[in-house]
């Protein structure tokens, strides 16, 4: 019985690791290429507000966080063109407002209070089937969006104004993509947690970017490096009995340093040989 339970956990965790690598590999490429890491950090922490509100009203906290983050994301995108307030200051406010709301709502909810650590640092070993469904559907949607809309995503990311002069649906693409960013963040909170999710969205891309300058290749390599990172991190966490989210992030960053070393040798080794 115990073994069967463990087997169930492991399958769920493996699926979560695979879907995390796919969704973050693709959507992270959009984030990194557009230099939206700070916005993404803001959304990540804002989503904690949604978790608290969801908890308070007795709905699934991840659904609460998804709704909250998508609304926040669309808001940021809508007002990012106005110069009235500095965008980074608005994001910083949203960042801490989310955390504040989360804590307040969790505190005033009577009775059982959830394990905050699991939201902050993730717990891939206890993901539910519903979480897996969310991640799976998000991965599928990301694959479809990036293969069908590859060109328009690339053109809008590179030069919005020029894309507008070609009558491309710039605003629609931006709204769609920022919503995907918000969902990728929220659903992956289960895997590595609020504090660590940004690394899943940026480290694989940084590794890929060391070896290729083509958007398409970065998409593919990011998913692959992400897979290696999440799966080996998960295995290490399982066998060493240490926290999974932190291990995955540690492995990914270790991979980045190894890759940088390889890249350095590639550049300098050649010169040394000649």
């Amino acid at each position: 019985m115990n073994n069967l339970l463990e087997f169930g956990y492991l399958t769920n965790s493996l699926l979560a690791a695979v879907f995390a690598a796919i969704s973050c590999g693709l959507i992270g490429t959009y984030i990194v290429s557009r230099r939206m890491v700070f916005v993404s950090g803001g959304l990540t922490h804002a989503s904690f507000g949604g978790i608290g509100i969801g908890h308070f009203f007795g709905i699934n906290p991840i659904i609460g966080a998804a709704v909250f983050s998508v609304i926040a994301a669309l808001g940021i995108e809508k007002f990012s063109n106005r110069r009235l307030v500095r965008q980074d200051s608005v994001i910083a406010m949203l960042w801490s407002l989310g955390m504040a709301l989360g804590i307040i709502f969790i505190y005033i909810t009577p009775g059982y209070s959830p394990n905050l650590m699991s939201y902050l640092f993730g717990s891939i070993l206890t993901v539910s089937s519903l979480d897996i469904w969310f991640l799976g559907i998000l991965s599928l949607v990301s694959i479809i969006v990036f293969s069908v809309m590859y060109k328009v995503i690339l053109y809008v990311s590179f030069d919005e104004d020029f894309a507008r002069t070609r009558n491309l649906p710039v605003q629609t693409v931006k709204y769609l993509m920022i919503s995907l960013v918000a969902l990728a963040i929220v659903f992956n909170i289960r895997v590595v947690g609020i504090i660590l999710v940004l690394s899943l969205l940026t480290v694989p891309q940084s590794i890929a970017n060391l070896f290729t300058n083509k958007y398409q290749n970065i998409l593919i390599f990011s998913v692959l490096t992400g897979l290696v990172g999440t799966l080996s991190g998960l295995a290490a966490a399982w066998f060493l009995n240490i926290p999974s989210g932190a291990t995955i992030v540690f492995v990914l960053i270790l991979m980045f340093f190894l890759a940088s070393g390889v890249k350095w040798l590639q550049n300098h080794g050649k010169k040394a040989l000649i």
Binding site: S33, R35, V148, Y155, D161, R164, T165
Partner: protein, 253 residues
Amino acid sequence: MQKLVELKNVTAGYENEIAIENADFSVYEHDFIGIIGPNGGGKTTLLKVMLGLQRPWKGSVEYYLDGGGQNLIGQMGYLPQINKFDDKFPVSVYEVVRSGLATPKKLFSRFSKEDNTRILETLQDLGISHLKEKSIGELSGGQKQRVFLARAIVSEPKLLFLDEPNTYVDNKFEAELYEMLHYLNQRMAIVLVSHDLGTISAYIKSIVCVNKSVHYHDSNTISEEQLSVYNCPIQLITHGTIPHTVLKSHSHE
């Protein structure tokens, strides 16, 4: 001559600040207009209003290109200021130029063979075929300007807008650029924003001075008196046997 774009008493700006006021002029076929004015004077805003990227607060911009109205795809080429680009952005020269042929209809289909031929021809015309596979960050300032010029003209527009194409480039490239524009001017009208019209003034046909107020000057020579009437503090352009630039002295600088 056929009228391409007409600005009727256009006022535009950002938030609560007016950037340009009462712009009232037209661009015709084969025009070569130089837009000059001090930094922050509203040159780029004027360009964006003409491109339809920014809506005027007052007045209107009317297009007389084929199809008219909103259907302007492929008829206006645009070369923005290159300093706004992210050098690390992972995109190849070929992809950048190809985006100049993008249309909403073509987004979900593959580009055609004709498109590919056109891209390669344009790259060749501008002497950058060998850079095709390079990513944009690996290029020099002059090479980048060529790539963005290629992107702007690959669709054979009737009207070409250039925003300071002579920044971040050396004198040799600048001279080549003006020759290229002179050549392109045979098949398209050109509107060029520049902080320095000295060397190009021989090819320009008319001048627009922008310093919040917008004045159309139907000649490629302009005197100091005229500039001061236009309230347009900028370096002065004169014509000799060789086109040259005379800098106006600024006591406060």
